[in-house]
């Protein structure tokens, strides 16, 4: 992090410019290779499906699955399934981020609370969240509540952990300065803790988002009730619609990619002022 007083030398400027140019030059090649990779994957799949050891009925070729996928995405039923899955994902994330963020700040700022809660957190965190599915089924009557409990539990720890790391990273001198300038607790959180913690929190949110999607879909697969993508896959499989199962799996993967990109985009938006994002843009 060089301060503005030392101007960059000519060599530095040139090297940065060259690095940028080489990135620009390399990009089309990488994109082409990436597309080629996808095509090779589809071709292998097609060959294995047609000539491989497995019955073609159980492993339909991409030439059958991809059209099914496109036929699916014009159906309202498909989008309502996506919507239902996303709803449990979103609500679970919301609860997890609010709960994990607030608790993380409260615990992280007090060294007493940090020491007192460590053993409990270390014990509760590794409990696989899917173990709670039976409990959720017993405690709640509606499917959305059931999957919310599981999704929130799984996502909560990711957020809480990252927030704790972030708060631990706050500069002690800055905190002491804030205190001696008469900052209130809230002001200290807003102006000193937040800027340091936010990158950590966003990493936690990104990790939690992937976990939340897995759990939302798992609940649908296991409980079979909240009509979402997971339930649709199970339904297609039980009815012998094998190509449709594959098409839905394809859709789920694409949904995962979209959520990943969405999270990255929000992160870059929120942290545009932060060193990690700025240096990434320059490199």
């Amino acid at each position: 992090m060089s301060d503005s007083a030392t101007a960059p030398t000519i060599t530095e400027v040139v090297s940065v410019a060259e690095a940028k140019r080489s990135v620009r030059r390399a990009r089309p090649r990488r994109v082409m290779l990436g597309i080629a990779g996808v095509v090779i994957f589809l071709v292998i799949w097609e060959i294995v499906s047609r000539f491989g050891p497995v019955d073609m009925k159980y492993l339909p070729p991409p030439t059958e699955v991809v059209p099914t996928f496109f036929r699916n995405i014009v159906l309202i039923g498909f989008w309502s399934a996506v919507g239902n899955t996303l709803l449990s994902w979103f609500l679970g994330m919301l609860l997890a981020v609010l709960g994990g963020g607030v608790l993380g700040i409260l615990i992280g700022l007090s060294s007493f609370a940090r020491r007192a809660t460590r053993s409990t957190i270390e014990f509760l965190r590794p409990i696989p969240s899917v173990a709670l599915i039976p409990l959720a089924v017993l405690l709640f009557s509606t499917p959305i509540q059931q999957s919310l409990l599981v999704v929130t539990y799984g996502a909560f720890w990711q957020v809480l952990f990252q927030t704790l790391y972030g708060v631990a990273d706050v500069d002690a001198v800055a905190m002491a300065t804030g205190r001696s300038y008469g900052f209130s607790w809230l002001q200290r959180v807003r102006h000193i803790v937040m800027p340091t913690m936010l990158p950590y929190l966003m990493t936690g949110v990104r990790l939690a988002s992937a976990v939340a999607l897995i759990l939302a879909i798992t609940c649908e697969l296991q409980i079979g009730k909240p009509v979402g993508l997971g339930a649709e896959i199970l339904h297609a499989k039980d009815n012998g619609l094998y190509a449709s199962s594959y098409a839905l799996v394809l859709a789920t993967g694409l949904l995962g990619i979209v959520l990943n990109f969405g999270m990255r985009w929000i992160e870059r938006r929120l942290l545009s002022w932060h060193q990690s994002v700025r240096s990434e843009a320059a490199a």
Partner: protein, 261 residues
Amino acid sequence: MKLLRHTAAAVAFGLGLPVLLILIWWAASLNSTSIFVPRPGDLVTTFFRVWGSDRFLTDVLPSLGRYAIGAILAVVLGVIIGVVVGLNQTLRALTEPVFEFFRALPPPVLMPILMFLIGVGDAMKITIIVLGAVWPVLLNTIEGVRSTDSVQNETSRSYGIVGVRRVWYQVIPSAAPQILAGVRQSLPIALILMVISEMMASSSGLGFSIIQFQRRFEIPEMWAGIVLLGLIGLVVSLLFKVLEGRILRWYYGLKDLDNAA
């Protein structure tokens, strides 16, 4: 004396909140008639009654076996493929979108498909564990191999250390911190998939037992299952911490030196 006080404080901080929570739980369940939450004492006796019996041999051990095989296979495959792909720029660009897709795919959705492809036996469960847990290791290995220090690479080359020997003595050690970060993400995923695969399609195993208890309304037994899963998760994460500390001792030593300087 000082050491004694220090230890006492550590113990108090470590046990304070758990003891408090259990006391609250105990007090709250004294007069409660809720069938969903057992009393702490009942839970402990149920725990030993359920898992102390031959269920340990018929359900817990097979589960742990599948978990271990799946997780080890995932790590080995992830490291091997990751090294091969990470060392070759073209291969990396070629495989990137496909790998990104499989990483973004929530692994449980593959289960219905695997069920009609290879049935519901142990092979399916181990496959699903590997398919889910391999990606964090694989992608982290690629990233770690890609970012090996260029001075190290050139030194290896000029000393004639190439091929398998270079991979073993230079590439894997220098990528080890990142590989292990991937393994740390993989282990809980593998555990989750072990449970899910048994919940969905099985007649034995921990996941199956818990679902069975729930369907029969054997609530304390179900709780005992959840507690056992939590303990397994805890033991796995502790074991991993010890293992990581051993493998990366040189790395943490270097970091301490850096920080001290």
